[in-house]
Symmetry: C2
Subunit: 371 residues, 2 copies
């Protein structure tokens, strides 16, 4: 059989981002048992570091053993029961996926629609909260990976609280890249992914649930429809009090990697990481605009870590250009997704990828292929 | 922050098993994008190698991006709809978990019970199939990890076919360790785990679905309750025909590891791997019996890769003995699970762990601590 040797890419798409050697080395350490006391120490350390990353004291803060889309599903299946009502904000692909999740729970989705490229409109959300006083959940995407838009999570969560609504926040792309304060903002359920601003390989979904969320879970009248994602079971595995109960086998080596990435984040400091993303974004933006490229998103809502630019009108085969970037420069940038397919490129500056040499590589490569 | 350095263990529990350096090295290679053409080549290679491992031509054969318990859930949520009836064989922990899955699908479980330590009884299954001609599914565990028992999957699948029933087979512990022929035996849905006889770190669940299973999925009248595990969506991601549709972000580096482990299996040859598990089991068994230890399971149903022995009556604190094995010998063996907790030890010889030096280490260590 042929050994697989991956090419050495520079990853500037919508994730995965470049993985630092420290994390790759951590993941290659010998596997130990998932019930080994040493692994249990690691689990506790990861929980502590994740609390820092999320800025929360929530006891139920841990990485799910599956990618971010399972994190999304975990939030919905645990908080919704058949017949419940959820207000879902859709301004891109991932809001749409939330609606799918609500419907598959047998719950009712009230959809607040904003254009792709626009943030979630707090006034429309407030109207929906007033029109639907029986809504149990308000859910939205903090950083929409499909459009490059940041929504005002703090304001949206405040509105939800004023209307006695729990919040589910998609922080797949924002964690580690944008200011995010779970406790100060009163977020009830949040999920992220390992492969964006944390710069791990994909496969894990850090999540956190507030005491209010746990109360809603404890008061459920139906079992959670997913056994694998049932927090009442997963909790006993991740909670150290009185010994852990076996639930599933955690992905041991992936946890080594996540631990290392969270150490890197702690060493740098959250605020410094946020500032670095912004600084690199500004450099990239200046270069892209010099080239005549235009952003899809207005400056005040732009994600620093995901730069969505309109494909110039003279480009007739954008996929061919991305192929050239990959083949000639080993550089990956992202295509448009859903309604934006063929219309935009998504240039990521996530985690370890948010550095000067990546900005330079990307600008040089784009200059070459666009001329 | 403190770097985590795992201890170097010898893993002879119920999984994870020892991971060879080749696999750890493969996983530490640079991460590439999950839509990179090079990754798509890897996905095709993995599918081909998994078909060999499962002995199947099923087009839908791939690794789910989550552990074996998600593989189990995937089989049930895709094949069952509310009101459907499933015959579930329970002779250990994992049959019980199947019942949980059936009930969470809103389906009805007809349970065929056998004692823990006994295989599934084909006569009882045949009676259940006769009594419930409306059953859609027969599900059972091929190799029960909680007891160390092998059931006769070939016969059980033949009975199911004769009664026009689809089969779901749990092969978490059997894949790569016991003879298993998905096509010859007519298995409709099968799932496994990466961390048993394939000797990868935990985190992936190889699955395979027959054309009959796919037909049942296509004819569903309800959407699959899990978005993450909905095969109609996952299929478009894993199927190369006409380009892949983005579904979730696959765990890229874990896939490097799985690919390498499947290459190792192909190099050795399936039959040789099966024979090695049996040969190592016989050596371990002889040593254990010399020490006066007794097996829980009758010789004809014993799993070579999971040796379940009764804890000697003079041992009053079995957990303390396992702790000594871990601390003095860096050796992990498994505790009893569920009804067998405190009554048995489970000694694994899975994948790379099934070798002479592990047998020797285990026998020497047990001799020392039991005297």
């Amino acid at each position: 059989m042929t050994k697989f040797t991956p090419p050495k890419r520079t990853l500037m798409g919508p994730g995965p981002s470049d993985v630092p050697q420290r994390i790759l080395d951590a993941m290659a350490q010998p596997t130990i048992g998932h019930l080994d006391p040493a692994f249990q120490t690691l689990m506790e350390d990861i929980k502590g570091l994740l609390k820092y990353a999320f800025q929360t004291e929530n006891a139920l803060t841990f990485p799910l053993s599956a990618p971010g889309s399972a994190g999304m599903e975990c939030a919905f299946v645990n908080l919704l029961e058949p017949g419940d009502k959820a207000i879902i904000c859709r301004n891109g692909v991932f809001g749409g996926r939330m609606i799918e999740n609500v419907e598959r729970c047998g719950a009712i989705a009230v959809v607040v629609e904003n254009d792709w490229g626009e943030p979630v409109d707090p006034e429309m959300v407030e109207d929906a909260l007033k029109d639907h006083p029986d809504a149990k959940i308000l859910a939205f995407v903090h950083a929409e990976t499909s459009t490059g838009v940041l929504s005002d999570a703090e304001t949206l969560c405040r509105l939800a609280r004023e209307h006695d609504c729990l919040t589910i926040v998609d922080a797949v792309t924002s964690l580690g890249g944008n200011p995010l304060c779970v406790d100060d903002w009163g977020i009830d359920a949040i999920y992220s992914g390992s492969q964006k601003c944390l710069s791990c390989p994909p496969g894990l979904s850090p999540v956190s649930f507030s005491e209010h969320a746990l109360e809603a879970i404890r008061n459920r009248s139906h079992k959670v429809q997913s056994w694998f994602l049932d927090l009442s079971l997963v909790m006993d595995y991740w909670d150290g009090e009185g010994g852990r109960t076996y639930h599933h086998t955690a992905p041991v080596n992936a946890m080594y990697g996540l631990h290392e990435s969270l150490c890197i984040l702690k060493e740098e400091g959250l605020e410094n990481a946020w500032a670095r993303h912004t600084a690199m974004h500004e450099k990239l933006r200046d270069g892209l605009e010099d080239m005549g490229l235009e952003y899809l998103v207005a400056p005040e809502y732009r994600l620093p870590q995901l730069n969505t630019v309109k494909i110039p009108v003279h480009v007739t085969d954008e996929a061919a250009l991305r192929k050239r970037l990959l083949e000639e420069f080993n550089l990956e940038i992202g295509a448009g997704l859903g309604a934006l397919a063929g219309k935009v490129w998504r240039i990521g500056l996530m985690g370890y990828s948010a550095k000067q040499e990546n900005v330079d590589l990307c600008l040089n490569a784009l200059r070459r292929i666009l001329n």
